[in-house]
Point group: C3
Chain length 466, copies 3
Amino acid sequence: MNICDRPKNTNIKWSLPAVCFVWQLSMIILFGVFVRYNEESDTHWVDYRKEKNITSDIENDYYFRYPSFQDVHVMIFVGFGFLMTFLKRYSFGAVGFNFLVAAFGIQWALLMQGWFHSLDYTDGKIKIGIENLINADFCVAGCLIAYGAVLGKVSPVQLLVMTLFGVTLFAVEEYIILNVLHAKDAGGSMVIHTFGAYYGLSISWVLYRPNLDRSKHLNGSVYQSDMFAMIGTLFLWMFWPSFNSAIADHGDGQHRAAINTYLALASTVLTTVAMSSLFEKTGKLDMVHIQNSTLAGGVAVGTAAEFMLSPYGSLIVGFFCGIISTLGYIYFSPFLEEKLKIQDTCGIHNLHAMPGVIGGIVGAISAAAATNTVYGDLGLENTFDFTGPFAKRVPTIQGGYQAAGLCVALCFGIGGGIFVGLVLKLPIWGDPADENCFDDEIYWEVRQVFFFLLTFYRFFSIKAIT
Amino acid sequence: MNICDRPKNTNIKWSLPAVCFVWQLSMIILFGVFVRYNEESDTHWVDYRKEKNITSDIENDYYFRYPSFQDVHVMIFVGFGFLMTFLKRYSFGAVGFNFLVAAFGIQWALLMQGWFHSLDYTDGKIKIGIENLINADFCVAGCLIAYGAVLGKVSPVQLLVMTLFGVTLFAVEEYIILNVLHAKDAGGSMVIHTFGAYYGLSISWVLYRPNLDRSKHLNGSVYQSDMFAMIGTLFLWMFWPSFNSAIADHGDGQHRAAINTYLALASTVLTTVAMSSLFEKTGKLDMVHIQNSTLAGGVAVGTAAEFMLSPYGSLIVGFFCGIISTLGYIYFSPFLEEKLKIQDTCGIHNLHAMPGVIGGIVGAISAAAATNTVYGDLGLENTFDFTGPFAKRVPTIQGGYQAAGLCVALCFGIGGGIFVGLVLKLPIWGDPADENCFDDEIYWEVRQVFFFLLTFYRFFSIKAIT
Amino acid sequence: MNICDRPKNTNIKWSLPAVCFVWQLSMIILFGVFVRYNEESDTHWVDYRKEKNITSDIENDYYFRYPSFQDVHVMIFVGFGFLMTFLKRYSFGAVGFNFLVAAFGIQWALLMQGWFHSLDYTDGKIKIGIENLINADFCVAGCLIAYGAVLGKVSPVQLLVMTLFGVTLFAVEEYIILNVLHAKDAGGSMVIHTFGAYYGLSISWVLYRPNLDRSKHLNGSVYQSDMFAMIGTLFLWMFWPSFNSAIADHGDGQHRAAINTYLALASTVLTTVAMSSLFEKTGKLDMVHIQNSTLAGGVAVGTAAEFMLSPYGSLIVGFFCGIISTLGYIYFSPFLEEKLKIQDTCGIHNLHAMPGVIGGIVGAISAAAATNTVYGDLGLENTFDFTGPFAKRVPTIQGGYQAAGLCVALCFGIGGGIFVGLVLKLPIWGDPADENCFDDEIYWEVRQVFFFLLTFYRFFSIKAIT
């Protein structure tokens, strides 16, 4: 593809505004045609309550899910945004483009997921409530994971394109996994993490830059940027119990999902620290591992979070994920880059891909092993929704469908990623040259030089001032 | 006013402690005389429950509003505090004085708003619960907006005076708008943003500093300070749905307000990015716009958040606010400073004043356009509280009262601001000289020079250590 | 102890991984043997609901406590973690070791507290739900407070040992105070703050380093590190109402605890600012006071938070704590270090120890002063749990038991701290030499030098790039 070898032009003065305006206008039109409030967010709620004999406003789904929703919202915008600020000169791009991509993605996700899940066939409208907002945030999480693989190497226009396709693919694979296969995936180990990670890795593979080491001096962290990244890490870590329980069943479902995730994450921290220390000279810890691998347990417990995984089961999952994820940073990432030509800036293979697959497998096994003794008759039915057309499904069969769901997520991730990668290879998107990667100067007004001059100025004049 | 031209003395060793102690003691006395728990936070709740036949503790208003309250609380202290840290040498002042002002303001607001809204006439006491705490935070938000206009140019004593008067004025205009006019303003586009912004701008106009460019070298950001400001931006952005829904009606009211705000904010991000890119060379983005204009949609959807604005309506409001607010930073702010002599450090005219007025207008129009078909009979009555003395009011009339409310907010903001500005012009408050503005050294112990020396030290001795 | 004077070896390549792996494996085994879901987080909840005639899933304890739990979780990991980042070169250690210690501590706390409080004697299992997670976070808070005293002077292995013993001691003293003495301590002024602070101070006393001034140049803050610390301060400050109300009684108990804490904290901010300004030249403020003393009111109102302290009572408590805590930083901390040989890096004596003791005393007095007139008959019984074996206890007696509880907390803190300090004095834990304290280079891979070179590089090449 000779066309791709032209010198890079990072001027996005027309393409970025054009994409933003046109897509936002399209959103307005599509929302105008399709999107309405559902019965719990509409003023007719008062009538609905009477009709359904609901005793109190507190039983509006809003009160079951709003606290979790806000936690998830923080994970998407501060969690993912700040986690990616670890690069010394790409913090604006990390947090700013994350913001842009997520703000577009949630709108498009409300539509795409709405058509598949919330369409009211009586009037052809999508009816939205708090659960839709959570699902839109979830959908965007998949695209932000993918952003991690290409961080610093793409233009904001490419990111928007990636998100447009990513959300679309997500909605389809989600529909297949959750509705057609009737697999369960409360925390999205398969639907979000496996899909998102392989989507991003495949794109990065197609966009492979053989001369990326020309901007090697910027592909690393400094003290302050590592501290900003820890803000992201901690908000992700703390609110992950809300992530995995946000759309779980009311009552024990949400309660159990929160407990399982809390425990898995705690366990992961200890094994991550152990591995990090073991592989560095004199037992020092590496911030890259602490920032990322400590989160792997949350990913891996996603699918099984609402199952009766039991507390020690959660600890075991977290235990192994901390080890595997840290080993990933030490061994697999260099291997991926050198042998498979996959440049993975944030190491999403270690944080999302491997733990996501593990999560899918754990989900399949624990579903297959579910028994009436442990769950209770009603509990089993509730947890796996063995109702309606699925009334006769049994746990062992469910386990098979869970495994099938994992395969679907993988296929959509890899296939979709390759396709979108080829689209993004077109030389029209304003991506940076190899020597300008990981540099905020390309897409942002940066005033850094003042700081240096100011320091000098202060140093020589500090006595005069005070 | 010759007295105002004396050389500046920024020693606040006596004035600041005196104001803090005296005012805090006054608060204790006034709270002792006036403030008690309401029936939901008092130990008699158990009797009240029986009397009112409330089936469960979960119907205590605390459970409806506490999650939103905490989100609002974060917006006030971290959101506003960090948003203003963007200046390279005024981060302590931004976050620290914001903290001080808010901590005083919420106490005074509980009293002022209590006298107007929560006075129990049987015993002459103000009865407080969770909703009062939220309203106190809201009231303080108005003063913090005003702080944005004078950031870096006033002393903490002046800020406390500004807050004392600001909260007082706020409580009166709020009473007129919400109770006398019976206008609705769940998210405070008029009551909070319009009032607060014009209050601050008027003060800044009275305190105009012709020689402010003497501290021009400090009136800008650096890389790290822009990152800290993004913490503020994101927490404001993420929790704005809680802000606009915190005191909305239980059930569908809170639910709908959250959805509308979520959508308006998403839309604003895209148009802000588009405009920022369009007006910078080679399409680069400006952090000032991303930090501020992305929030304009939340301001503008405040009044109408609990109305049946419909999802696409929210997107439209956000769409235009992103454009207008960004244009404000590019064109109006320089105009305000040069022609109208209004120096607006944070650009609150673009983030709060214009979007606030738009929010008031959107509220008036959408109230006037409300119909029984869309809202349902009971829904219309609930949403606009067409009960008691207002039982016969119709939507078109309501629209008129909404517009009147906007005018009241404007008048109180401008009139009050001019008066308070004149008070603050007295040369007794310890404000900095023109050449010392935007500098933390004036009011804070700063240890910055160590950092520079340390860097040198490390540079030459790094090998010896490791 | 001559053995303790050997040259320091900070290589923890084997000890840290070994401790992490062995302890985490022990946790898995103990959880496997002992820990199960309780009736509200188990799939049998649906049967339990029917049996107990619970009308809605919303009455699951999860919905009463989950929002508070998440706020407490943020306080533990971001609040404590970032509060301690104020040192110029120990931010990784502050936030990273805080993370490690808390992740281990919550697991061990679930077991220790479980055996004392949540053991189901029918099957010998600990049954956990959301309240256990909150209590585990609380327990860890005690250990993190203790970490503040030894910050920068111990190895991560020592911290883990401190946490192992700390959690164990905590669970025992908590059992004695809450169950045997039947004292009330919703916000843990005694159980958490008094115990944790004296535990840490005693350890620091035993580990006294006479030559600590060899790393004096690193024992202080810089501008950026002070800003990171403010993130911790504010999240602690904002979410403290959730901390004190998290395990309070459903309904009015949680509601009142939140209001009391909100008010006490607001009051503390003003007196802290006043004192800080009064004792610095020209009335400047000191970030150390703003970061720490503003929180003292939350500590001191912990025990009495759910009592009918009344709003002005809370303000009074906050008023004095701001004064005392700030005076502590100015006068007591140097005294402690010079005369009592207690080196207290974060000043936990001023933030936790003194306010904690005050909180215990306030709790005892307000319990003793409780009357049926103020509380109501049922309210008094509910608030103090005068049921079962304690049905005949009266408020004055309760006051005595509260005071006894404070003594227990003090004894466990001091006694336990001296014992653990002696254990930590063994020369096997990899703690740093006196000249290497407060330095991240010892335990972390640090890439700081790049930043300096980069600044140079940028300075000379900035034109070439743009």
